[in-house]
């Protein structure tokens, strides 16, 4: 899932400064699961903003579509924004862009920072797991991704900065290659680490430019 963190209230307040009628839009998808951009957070943010903004006669209301990243769920926004000057979306960057595209020309502001693709490893703690590099190698690395979880995205094992299981960048960051090493050892497959991994093709990652996927079988015919 996509993880996001709400921007600080003062930063959000500064962004909406000058708007009289504000619609806060939550999202029922990923950011609801990480409890930063769902309906509950949209409601709370709307109330806090109403208290924070010193402009008299500012109205702040909230909604929360099922998902902001699909046209069918945000279509009703065309009508709903009629009485507002701005949408403050607390969906991930995909949702913000979808709404901005739907309402082309209408101000749509981001209230949340999209941080990473990951999971709650325990209640209240989220960790990055995937970087959408476009060429999965998890079979070689015992199901632990070095592209996303090694600070340097290394492919040939831990660098010289791995010590006591930690990454050189911080004692709070586990060394992904130490984890890979331990799990490969458990699987009796340490020999995976002896193979020279040659330079990889990053063109399927973001480095190749914005990506798209076309599924002919799901595309609509012109007649339909």
């Amino acid at each position: 899932m996509i993880i996001g963190e709400l921007k600080p209230l003062n930063e959000i307040a500064a962004k909406v400064q000058g708007y009289k009628r504000i619609l806060v839009a939550g999202c029922g998808g990923c950011v609801t699961v990480c409890q930063t951009g769902g309906a509950a957070q949209a409601e709370t943010l709307a109330r806090l903003l109403a208290l924070t903004l010193d402009e008299p006669k500012t109205t702040v209301e909230w909604i929360s579509p099922t998902r902001q990243c699909e046209w069918e769920f945000i279509e009703p926004l065309r009508e709903q924004v009629q009485n507002f000057d701005v949408v403050l979306s607390i969906a991930c960057g995909v949702g913000v862009q979808a709404v901005a595209e739907l309402l082309a020309g209408f101000p749509v502001l981001p209230g949340l920072n999209t941080t990473f693709m990951g999971m709650p490893v325990q209640p209240g703690q989220f960790e990055e797991r995937c970087q959408a590099c476009g060429d999965c190698i998890l079979d070689l690395t015992a199901g632990i991704c070095p592209v996303a979880r090694c600070s340097k995205s290394l492919l040939n094992g831990p660098c010289g900065g791995s010590q006591n299981g930690k990454c050189e960048i911080s004692p709070d960051t586990p060394c992904a290659w130490q984890l890979i090493y331990e799990r490969l050892e458990l699987m009796g497959k340490l020999e995976n680490l002896e193979k020279l991994v040659l330079p990889r093709d990053w063109s399927r990652s973001r480095d190749g430019g914005p990506r798209r996927m076309v599924r002919e079988d799901l595309s609509l015919d012109d007649e339909e």
């Binding site: 340097k152 010289g160 900065g161 050189e168 020279l196 330079p199």
Partner: protein
Amino acid sequence: MLQEGHFAVTAEIGPPRSCNTEFVRRKGSLVQGYADAFNVTDNQTAIARMSSIAAAAILQQEGLEPVVQMTCRDRNRIGLQSDILGAAALGLTNILCLTGDHQSFGNHPEAKNVFDLDSIQLIHTARMMRDEGRFICGDEIKVRPQLFIGCVANPFADPFPFRVVRLKKKIEAGAQFVQTQCVLEMDRFRRFMEMVCAEGLHEKTAILAGVMPIKSARMARYMQKNVAGMMVSDQLCERLEKAEDVPKEAINIVVEQINQIREIPGVRGIHIMAVAWEEMVPEIVRRAGLYPRP
């Protein structure tokens, strides 16, 4: 030097955080003649400095033999291959391939990092450019760079058994010489070298053990506790803590370490990393009985 079987000495010169040519010359003149080759660091600890190729070219004009360090942090494969050609075109043919410290250590922690290649892939690339006359993409290089390719090894990082595997991969990729992280914990280094020799790796590459004079007890303790990938023995810290003349004791320690390292099978030389203390290199080399250089 290595081919003739001499015990090699290399040292390190850090370029300035400016374009001060004189600074590079002055640092070079402090150590000239006291080592066989001089590593020129590449934005070490992720602090922006004069480029290693430029500083190496200046040192070369002064008659020193530079080793150009190249990290994978700041350049992609296009930049790295271009700089290998550029360095070789200037006659700078000794290159040392490293992954590079993460940028969060340096003075631009907000920077984007690259790591398109890792150090092993960089070694492999350099070897392919030299031996096969090819870029990574397969295109031909008409005039091939004549390189002497080096790598680093850190016997003090984890997982310990992997350290020999990693060195093996680097040698397989094309590393002809190796400089280790500074040895401040001799027992661990001895165990590492036993494993290296058991694999016969010391015969496939020239291993130079890193040494570092440590100016103060506080610095030793700091490195012991806070620097990732380093191991500093308690004994070393205590000696510095008890010393009346700390700088003198620091040099005594390094000289003793060099003498111990020379007894370890498989070691073909030392690499002196006198960070911000380059002026001590001549005394260290003299007192270790390694001066004059052959």
